[in-house]
């Protein structure tokens, strides 16, 4: 037993280094994908202190919008790529409208309410989006238009360490896009006037109001940004599996990523994502069989929990102020 826990997995790692590399790669890739979802959460949390449960459904909704518009345009005779990019533009537009609606209808009346109330309100948004999305798009899974958006397909197979490590091109693209977005957002928070205001709003709505920060404007901005992140996430996840409401479940996986990195940290999202992704894959691959496999469903949460016990605000989160 002890052998199986403490020695055998490492023996395997050494014996089949190609599989180890492949596992790490898969872990990194799913980490990046989790991080993308987590990023949307972070954006909104950082900017408004709202724990946006609707981020998961926003991913689904934006992807469905994209695919839906594409279907419409191509039925009107646009060529594949043109239709795809037109649809992309319009889907982004829809996310803007959504951001404005959310701000106007939900956030504005609920300003300065406790976090948990706003959290609950995002559940309301989730329900509305599910209902609305299913009415408009139906429940059937759709194919993501990856080729039309010039996303690569196929794989790069690398002969190494006595085996074949195969990297999917779409995964590489996801990693690149995710890094670009994270760098961009980090700069946005650091370098802009709005960045500071965002953090102020997250700290205290009341005080932010009193110094004249326009919550309304800021909320539209961040929700739109989060909507764009959701759109990108939707494209990436959709290219891996189909676009359907089942994707919403995956969004839950962003939660451990989030707590691990800290709710308020953009880099935290990516680091947390990578730790969770890699940890979960390694755990499942090398130790999962001991428990009969399928432990991934909770492993991520347990990893996050262990880190939390050590740092209650996550790796990069703002310190929790305890003072009296």
């Amino acid at each position: 037993m002890l052998y199986n826990i403490f020695i055998d997995p490492f023996v395997q790692m050494v014996q089949m280094p190609d599989l180890l590399v492949q596992t790490l790669w898969e872990g990194l890739v799913s980490g990046v994908l989790y991080a993308l979802i987590a990023l949307g959460f972070v954006l909104i949390f950082k900017a408004s202190g709202v724990f946006n449960f609707a981020q998961g459904i926003m991913v689904v909704f934006s992807a469905l919008t994209l695919v839906g518009f594409y279907a419409k345009f191509s039925s009107w005779g646009f060529s594949g790529h043109a239709a795809a990019f037109l649809a992309l533009l319009l889907a982004a537009g829809v996310m803007l409208v959504l951001a404005m609606l959310v701000e106007r209808v939900v956030l504005r009346p609920l300003v300065t309410q406790p976090d948990i109330i706003l959290f609950m309100a995002t559940f309301g948004i989730t329900y509305v989006l599910i209902g609305f999305g299913e009415i408009v798009f139906g429940g059937d899974p759709k194919q993501m238009i990856a080729n039309e958006l010039f996303l690569p397909s196929g794989s790069v197979d690398i002969e190494m360490l006595g085996g074949l490590v195969s990297l999917q091109k779409i995964d590489i693209a996801a990693a690149v896009i995710a890094s670009l977005m994270i760098v961009g957002l980090a700069l946005f928070f650091q370098k802009t006037r709005i960045g500071r205001a965002l953090r102020a709003v997250a700290d205290s709505h009341k005080a932010a109001l009193s110094v004249g920060i326009s919550l309304n404007q800021i909320w539209v901005i961040v929700w739109f940004a989060a909507g764009l992140v959701a759109l990108v996430t939707g494209i990436m996840w959709g290219a891996r599996s189909d676009v359907s409401f089942a994707l919403e479940i995956v969004a839950l996986k962003a939660l451990p990523v989030l707590v691990l990195g800290g709710f308020t940290s953009v880099p935290g999202a990516i680091v947390g994502g990578l730790i969770i992704g890699v940890g979960e894959k390694l755990g499942e691959f090398y130790w999962g069989p001991l428990l009969g496999g399928g432990i991934e469903s909770w492993l991520a949460y347990v990893i996050a929990l262990v880190f939390l016990l050590y740092r209650p605000q996550g790796l990069f989160g703002d310190k929790i102020i305890e003072r009296i």
Binding site: L110, I117, I125, L129, L252, V259, G294, Y301, P312, I320
Partner: protein, 358 residues
């Protein structure tokens, strides 16, 4: 006007610290009790009993459990369904291992198992707070659910992987299994829920409840008042999980009749959280109101097109239900972020000064 308590004097502190110090409230409660114990079983249809009232009561009990944790102690938890599952599986194991003991005893005992597990998963709450804690409790949710799937011993190695409820009786009357009529099951559930609500009300209105609320409102100050955080929080986890566990056992034995592990999935946790928040954090009545809104309202919406004779497809009704429930959640939060219970209080305030606006 209708709600003026003029002329109702309290002669002693016992009367003043009663849970319902105002006469009108007591009348209201009595009327509700009469409706619940007499009118509904007499006039209600089977559907009303089996699909509306029983689930409503059971969910209310679960919501009370969660409210103790979230509303009274301020510990956000998303593992409720997991704890309910512990109760359900414990009741199942106990009742199949010792079939001679009355099933009701085991249903109530199952709460202790849930409480034990709850305490274990409550340990991190000393260090972890807020949404971070919520995510930590998700670990409980997913881990427990995994156990329900994986540990075949829990479901007596049934090839179906599910727990099935054997028919059992109380005083010779079938209360579980296929022979139990909805009325019988309703009475059992109602009895358990009423008693447990009473107990919960006693706890939260006494020293322990105040301790919890102090921890919720300002844990640092609470510590300096001599409250030890860990025991207080763990007790909240234990009591809360006890309630959830009993609710889970009731759910399987008196409502569903058989359950797969997926009956205790994350959706149920969320649902209960909705009820607690919409109903009102830190309010027992709110738990009932929340459960009514979240459970009964969709049933009502689903039944609406048919009763109006509108030809709407079932799926569309479902989509619309999502849409409407979502919109209503937002609506109620905007009208009164502190939940239906608070809305009710304000209404009472207004009644007090009626016909003047204030």
């Amino acid at each position: 006007m209708f709600y003026r308590e003029t002329g109702q004097f309290k002669q002693n502190y016992a009367a003043d610290s009663a849970v319902f110090p105002i006469l009108q409230d007591r009348y209201g409660l009595a009327i509700i009790m009469v409706i619940a114990f007499v009118a509904i079983p007499m006039f209600g249809s089977e559907f009303l009993l089996a699909s509306v009232m029983i689930p409503f009561l059971i969910l209310s009990l679960g919501a009370i459990g969660l409210n103790i944790l979230v509303g009274y102690t301020g510990l956000l938890s998303l593992g409720t369904a997991g704890f309910m599952g512990v109760g359900a599986y414990a009741a199942y194991k106990l009742s199949t291992m010792f079939p001679q003991v009355n099933i009701l005893v085991w249903i109530l005992c199952s709460g202790f198992f849930a409480a034990g597990i709850g305490v274990i998963f409550g340990l991190p709450s000393l260090r972890i707070k807020g949404f971070y804690l919520a995510v930590a409790t998700l670990a409980a949710q997913f881990f427990l659910q995994w156990c329900f799937v994986r540990v075949a011993w829990l479901y007596n190695y049934n090839p179906s992987g599910a727990i099935e409820v054997p028919g059992r009786t109380l005083f010779g009357i079938a209360i579980t299994g296929p022979m139990a009529t909805p009325v019988n099951r309703y009475y059992v559930v109602l009895g358990v829920v009423v008693v447990m609500t009473l107990i919960a009300s006693n706890i939260v209105h006494g020293r322990i409840g105040r301790t919890w609320m102090a921890v919720r409102d300002m844990d640092i100050a609470a510590q300096l008042m001599g409250i030890r955080l860990l025991p207080a929080k763990l007790l909240a986890f234990a009591v809360s999980s006890f309630y959830c566990g009993v609710a889970g056992a009731l759910m399987v034995f008196l409502w569903l009749g058989a359950a797969e592990p997926s009956a205790f999935d994350i959706k149920l946790s969320f649902l209960l959280l909705f009820m607690v928040i919409i109903g009102g954090l830190g309010s027992l009545i709110g738990s009932f109101m929340g459960a009514a809104l979240i459970h009964i309202l969709p049933i009502f919406i689903r039944a609406l097109p048919e009763s109006l004779g509108l030809p709407v497809a079932a799926a569309t009704v479902e989509h619309l239900t999502y849409l409407i429930v979502g919109a209503l959640i937002i609506f109620f939060l905007i009208v009164e972020p502190h939940g239906l219970a608070r809305l009710w209080q304000i209404t009472k305030q207004k009644l007090r000064v009626w016909p003047f606006p204030y």
